[in-house]
Symmetry: C2
Subunit: 333 residues, 2 copies
Amino acid sequence: MTGKNMPARNAFYAQSGGVTAVINVSAQAVIETARKYPKKIGKVYAGRNGIIGALTEDLIDTSKEPLENIRALGHTPAGAFGSCRYKLKSLEQNRREYERLIEVFRAHDIGYFFYNGGGDSADTCLKITQLSESMGYPLIAVHVPKTVDNDLPITDCSPGFGSVAKYVAVSMREAGLDVASMAKTSTKVFVLEVMGRHAGWITAACGLAAARTGDAPQVLLFPEITFNPQQFLAKVDESVRKFGYCAVGVSEGLQNADGKFVAESGLVDAFGHAQLGGVAPVIANLVKQELKLKYHWAVPIICNARRAISPQRPTSSRAMRWARRRSNLPSRA
Amino acid sequence: MTGKNMPARNAFYAQSGGVTAVINVSAQAVIETARKYPKKIGKVYAGRNGIIGALTEDLIDTSKEPLENIRALGHTPAGAFGSCRYKLKSLEQNRREYERLIEVFRAHDIGYFFYNGGGDSADTCLKITQLSESMGYPLIAVHVPKTVDNDLPITDCSPGFGSVAKYVAVSMREAGLDVASMAKTSTKVFVLEVMGRHAGWITAACGLAAARTGDAPQVLLFPEITFNPQQFLAKVDESVRKFGYCAVGVSEGLQNADGKFVAESGLVDAFGHAQLGGVAPVIANLVKQELKLKYHWAVPIICNARRAISPQRPTSSRAMRWARRRSNLPSRA
């Protein structure tokens, strides 16, 4: 693309969708690597609140940051530049939006687009590449994988999944030991609800820290396998008889035979409103009703997965200030 | 108690109630300290599954363990010797049970009783001291405080609370930053449910990592303060307008004006069974119904508080084998 005497073109980086424990590590990698090739890439602009930052021309010039700030991104929580859930429509439905993106890219001489997100982001990269070609504005769009669910096609292991996998594995092992040490007179069934609405990778990861037969979890309920209450209860009963307790890992996306989410299976509050609870309390309630066993359930904050990396290292104070501005919080007096 | 030529009397140590991140640190401290005073204290026996171990004469002789195993207790998860929820009745109601304890203590020449638990354990210590005196068997009973709730009278800060306080503080700060970085197009209200059914210490701890006005959490709902839905919704609405999002910390023991737990306020499943869900989904549902805001809620596993200490250090393999035996898991082949 860039000839011998052509100036290096700039890059645009944006975060998309739910943040992961390592989304800012990807940001750091993109920016640091770009700086290593000044003949190829000029400035790296980051979009404030993801792709919305491009549409509204709200760009953060990362070249103004010293390298230490960029390095600290790797240990900075949340989405350092702001993320968004904003899906670009199809080219046919909203061609104007794509043209607007290209306009902004052209105005800032952006030749590289790094989009840090899930499957939709990858799709957006493809569409923008196609449109930029047809508009005579050559653009290289690169999808930077990000998802906790690990459900991206072709991508074997997505950044974000590993941290969550470790988190749920350790949590399940710890909770299993806790319950085992109490089970004689107290909680006998523990239910851990995990993310992954259509993909069972995180559910499977619940079992990663089990070392021997009989270690927690004794039961895993996957979104890909229709929930069979009788079979489930029999398994729980067997585990309690055999090991004194039962630890269950369950996907938020567990489905009934009718294809509905178990989490939404008819719970209503005092006013008759549908109650969008988690699947864990539903499963736990079933155990209580049918097996009369004492239970405990949990729905962890997946963001905590981050703490599996390093809670002590410094965060990017600049990024924290960005976060602050983003949310209109008062700055330090 | 022990005269110049009298042999040192033995000690009995038992864990009681829910385990904390540091209950085994207390065990380590009792055993290590006892070893430093061989003229005062002989062997330290631990009860398997707490006080039940004394009633059934199921004692673990910790003097057989090398010091390194005892030291490793400090980094061993769960209740290393097994805990139990078993409340001794009053002296009048079940004097025989107390007499049985004294019998076992007498049989093993136990002159010191360390009971590691909450308020009930402290009360048991008092009763046993009184009974042992009246039975002519002098016994020194020492309550070793343990509770996450920090609700023990006189005890200013109970071991167990600090770990949980740090855990919820960090969790709230992380989740707050996550939500702030997504709020423009996604989740605007985050609800974190925490323990402490009648004491608001853990709820208050949610705010420990807030540095400036407007930092998460913006709203805390205490068990000591009757829930006022209108006031709550107004606060959430104000926070979302002002900061772009709202993070809420809520005690599992939050009560309605009628004195009932909000968590139990009339939820029924498809079969009309009362649904014992958490308070977080009830609160989140209220926000959705009344303010039409996108929410996310979590009920963390408090056991994870442990990871705030050190996930890397070795655990007591002996204690892990105890845990294994306790739960009748197959031993390593």
